[in-house]
Amino acid sequence: MKLALKVTEVEQLSPLVKRFRFEDPKGASLPVFSGGAHITVDMPEEDAIRRNSYSLISDPYDGTGYEIAVRREDRGRGGSLYMHTKVAEGDDITVSLPSNLFQLDLRAKKHVLIGGGIGITPFLSQLKQLEMEQKPFELHYAARSREEAAGLKLLQEAAHIHVHISEEGARMDLGAILDGQPMGTHVYTCGPDGLITAVADQTARLGWPKTAVHSEAFTAPPPGEPFEVVIASTGQTVTVKADQSLLEALEAAKVEIDSSCRGGACGRCHTKVTACDGRILHNDHWLSEGERAAQQDIMPCMSRFKGTRLELDL
């Protein structure tokens, strides 16, 4: 199900990041969500619809509107550029219902949220949920410079909200943050892969069980060289353009395929490969190392292909 909304606010938060607010054109209440949820935004261009998922940054219990923050990626596929250059206040915009792949574990006694750069976004809704439920938490936000730290405008000053600006010599010290946390603490990380790996390593050294360690690394699908795939059931050939994801190309060709997050995290578009002469460029966070190497599975929302023939079991 899709929601047809209006863009009611666009705000430049930092040189690279804009905040967007969407509301129902008639002022109807939108479905509420849970902290960490995202929506998928439709970006129609002449010949195709591009779709990217963005974390909701507004209050999960506030149905008057949805807000997202988008970082402009000049070397991306064009989704964020579309948001930055083509979307203005008053425009119509189509988005999906919220869904959540990065929810809080409500069994936790305390939540430690660690956001790097634009990875702060899912925590902006989570911390509103935590404040509302009066759950103990601390938030750590790491950014290179104060100017680039778009999240600063959206965070209040509070004792349990810590900002680490590396340019000012205040690099985040994960050992100091994680060592000595009370029993029942869960940690959540969103940001660059290096940060997620560093938190995983540090918690493993401290003997934290893996179920207390959560992360989200979903990014927009990367662009790449064009390639072709063959649909096994019909023999149809589908061409994937440089700035298009395989999932978007399949949708444009009316090939039936399930999907949700469009960021390689949820597993819904998992597709079997029936023939592969070449190399699948896996960009998802879903398949295991073994599955990647076997080249018999692909996540069309993120992954691409280089070679002579890729046949999908669709």
Binding site: G180, M183, G184, T185, P209, A212
Partner: protein, 200 residues
Amino acid sequence: MPNTEFSPSIDSRPTYAGLSSQGAAPAIMVADAAGAAALIDLATADASVMDHAHVILVAKAPDMAARLTDLGPKALHEAPDFEAATPLVSQLLDSAKMGTQLYLAGSEGLMGHVSALATTAGMPLEAIQMEHRGSIARRMQCVHCKGITEDVTTDPFTCSHCGLTLFVRDHFSRRLGVFQGVCVDAETPGVVPETVEIRA
């Protein structure tokens, strides 16, 4: 006597993989008299496991307490029964930091009770290791009156609270740390199957 092997059953029925050392990490160990032997085996395999361990012996067994003290734990606490041990275990869990390991050994009743306390304190299940030693008696909750009957060794058995005749199920409540007992003659009052010993 090694870790007891129980017959395969429904997913709800807990299984006990046995204790293996996680090294010299902060640890809480709780055992009854039979379970203490598992802690001795654990420390024999890796003496460093005791370096930061609080050991709670839930039994009146001075000889066993002496043997555990010899293993050099950070502290040895003794409690005559569950009830006496509970405030101590809860206090240790509440002041524990992430990374603390929980080692439980002994009866299913003891392990179920302490693991329920631990999960209430926020401890993830993977931080809990268990090894069954000794009696296979069960701690049973009556699903009708909610009363708990300790040391149940027969099936069916009589609820010590409401007096119903209860069938011993493998359905286990992790929240409460008890197996569930259900009225065996609800449909046909008075028609009760023959009483048998519970088996592993």
